[in-house]
Amino acid sequence: MKFMLMMNTPGGGPYQIAKWPPAAITAHIEFMKQFGKKLTANGELVAAEGLAGPDQARLVKAGKDGAPITDGVFPEAKEFLAGYWIVDVDTAERAYALAAEASMAPGPGGAPLHLPIEVREVMSVPPTEYKP
């Protein structure tokens, strides 16, 4: 079963991490690197990406002629997707355990951030033949 683990950050403005002391930033990045390595070593990683900050995000929709109309992201958005992992695991509980581990990423004082991680199952092919 594949799950997407989505890491959210407060919206409206650049990433909070930009205001942290350099050592805290390094520790946070190192944590994320190690976490990704561990997922690969476990044979569980499908994909992982970190996304550029909210200040660079654009909301795009098609105009009448189909051409893109771009806009800044609505500032009232409280939560913002900062990055995600897709993992391939045997159970949902395993995906939750991995999410909890990611949630413990260190913050400015080195203490765990307890980040909220949204866990969603990735749609797949049917497990068995559909009858009827």
Partner: protein
């Protein structure tokens, strides 16, 4: 490239190399390297006169290099002391090793496909839609677990065969299902898994003759696979059994599967795979849904339920009963399942189907929509939404 030949030879070569060097993890790597070398070289050099001996030589050279590099830890002469290589098939021992109970299902599957199926790591990774590095790690961790478990690669005792054949059958069935449920087009690489599972089950039936449940498993695969091309439409959408074009079913495969399951039943010792194969045979032999022997199918599901009281089996039993006695009888059976299947989309999907047949369109719509919201399968969700949209206007 001569893939079928390489896949056929893979377990034979691994068995022989293993009997000489014993180290399962290293031997399996060496054979994989030999297979990759063959895939690279044979297209230009041509297939050697003795392809198996060629692969054994390459794998053996790799192992000798490996042992030399490892000489500080182990006494080399002890490891490479040549043993007379007797002619026998090691596929069964390999399957027992790969389906070791200490491994998770996903590891058992990956290792079986590589060590016994002769697939490359990249092929397995593509089939399961994960990166090659991830699949490589899954396989090497599985091998480390086998090593830690301390169970040697050895011919199994008669008691072992009985105890561990169950795990092997389960893994082959999982591999089959991965391939069988894949739709055409982009997922074509996955349908290869159904073919591989059938091939491995065939070789196991040859090695362990007179095992009715093994024949039942092979029959179940053949009888299900016979319908594979008819079960999805051009856009990959699911086509339910009652709407499938039965002229597209593979008659030769149906005949083979039916013959196998009939023979297995005659041996006695009926089990879940034979029962499922018999159900598949009932569908395959019928000219239409109406002409299907639903009473027989209901009886087979009842017998299957006696094995492990699986609520999904009970659900299928209810569908069969509904076909014999009418939707009300099926709905009554389903209500009794509610506590055990509460919130499961299949319960809603079947209830929707039976309500639609009983004429309660509004009720059917609610359950189709609820099922569509809960399934994690895109094809199934689309199917359920299409069913629901046909009923709109009744709500």
């Amino acid at each position: 490239m001569n893939t079928p030949l390489l896949r056929e030879l893979a377990p034979q070569v691994l068995g022989i190399v293993l009997r000489r060097f014993r180290d399962f993890a290293a031997c399996e790597d060496a054979v994989q390297e030999a297979l990759l070398a063959a895939a690279q070289q044979w297209p230009s050099t041509g297939v050697p006169d003795h392809p198996r001996a060629w692969l054994i030589n390459v794998a053996t050279r790799r192992m000798i290099d490996h042992v030399r590099a490892d000489v500080a830890r182990k006494r080399r002469e002890e490891l490479i002391e040549p043993e007379p290589v007797e002619e026998r098939d090691d596929t069964m021992e390999l399957l027992f090793t790969c389906c070791h109970p200490a491994l998770s299902a996903s590891s058992q599957i990956a290792l079986t496909l590589r060590a016994v199926g002769g697939l490359t790591t990249l092929e397995i990774a593509k089939a399961f839609l994960v990166p090659e590095a991830t699949m490589a790690q899954r396989i090497s961790r599985a091998k480390a677990t086998i090593k830690d478990s301390g169970i040697p690669f050895a011919p199994p005792t008669a008691a072992d065969v009985i105890a561990r054949l169950g795990a092997v059958k389960h893994v082959l069935y999982l591999i089959f299902n991965e391939g069988y449920t894949a739709s055409e087009g982009a997922e074509l690489v996955r349908t290869d898994l159904a073919f591989e599972a059938i091939r491995l089950a065939r070789s196991l039936v040859r090695l362990v003759p007179d095992e009715p449940e093994l024949e039942g498993l092979l029959a179940l695969m053949l009888l299900s696979d016979a319908r594979r091309t008819a079960r999805t439409g051009p856009a990959g959408e699911l086509i339910p059994l009652d709407e499938q074009d039965r002229t597209r079913w593979d008659r030769a495969q149906i005949a083979e599967g039916t013959q196998l399951v009939t023979r297995a039943f005659a041996r006695g010792g009926v089990g879940p795979y034979q029962l499922q194969a018999a159900i598949a045979a009932c569908h395959d032999e019928a000219a239409s849904t109406d002409a299907t022997d639903w009473a027989e199918i209901a009886a087979l599901y009842a017998a299957l339920y006696a094995y492990d009281h699986n609520p999904m089996v009970a659900l299928n039993h209810a569908i069969a009963i509904a076909m014999v006695e009418g939707p009300a009888a099926g709905l009554a059976l389903i209500s009794a399942l509610e506590p055990r299947l509460a919130g499961h989309y299949r319960l809603d999907a079947v209830r929707g189907h039976l309500l639609e047949r009983s004429g309660d369109q509004a009720g059917a719509l609610v359950h189709y929509q609820r099922a569509a919201a809960r399934t994690t399968s895109i094809a199934e969700r689309d199917f359920l939404l299409a069913r629901a949209s046909r009923l709109k206007g009744f709500s």
